[in-house]
């Protein structure tokens, strides 16, 4: 995964887990039932694992630009 891909992956799982957890928490608060929070959180985390852990192609759209090889110009050693 390239560096831009890693940034994207981290951003995505932060958003997914916090959003699913947060919405689940609000629903759970009004229902006075923590089960809603837990299942919403678990679903968000599971999606994040599938979306953010494997090296999907869209995480490799900005490959690192390596520099060209520098030609070596060191002279050969000669014995005296």
């Amino acid at each position: 995964m390239d560096y831009e891909g890693q940034k994207l992956s981290e951003l995505l799982f932060h958003i997914f887990i916090l959003t699913f957890g947060g919405v689940g928490w609000v629903v759970g608060y009004f229902a006075q039932n923590f089960t809603y929070v837990f299942y919403a959180w678990a679903f968000g985390t599971a999606i994040s694992v599938v979306l953010c852990v494997p090296d999907w192609p869209f995480y490799n759209r900005h490959p690192v630009k390596w520099l060209d090889q520098i030609p070596t110009s060191a002279p050969e050693k000669k014995n005296n």
């Binding site: 890693q6 928490w25 985390t45 994040s48």
Partner: protein, 176 residues
Amino acid sequence: MHTVWVRLNAVVFFGLTVLLGLSILAALSKYGHSNRTKPIIHDLSLNTLRSLKSHGGVDRALLSFDIHADLRPAFHWNIKQLFVYVVAEYATDTNPRNQIILWDKIVEATDLDDAKVLKQDNIFVKYALVDQADELRGKDVQLQLHWDHMPLTGSLHQDSQGRETMSTFTLPEEYQ
């Protein structure tokens, strides 16, 4: 974030941290609930005294009681279960204050509403009323309901029936 394992670790532990945060917020959202909203005890009183005998030098009373208590107000989303117990309280010369647990029950948040209203007559004690010595005869005994709130997140909190609503009965002067 450069290998699968690093990313898996990051996702899972971020997830667990968020879950911890959500749990703590849920606990905080119900702060003070137990002081404002309490179970309603309609009745907790003696039904029948079966026996009062001396066993190996100590006094032992067996009895049955009636109970009608509505525990539903104590429940909220951070309560896993209530541990409810009936305490008999009396005074003797040896011990100015004795508290003996006669009966207990676990009432879970997932139980149906009917199970959260304890309404039953003639419940026989689970644990006998046993004195440390032989001083039960002729004593006034009061019954009090106690309950522990066992939360999903947070510490245990114990509460009990108001002292002014406790019922009293008197044990006989002679063994029976």
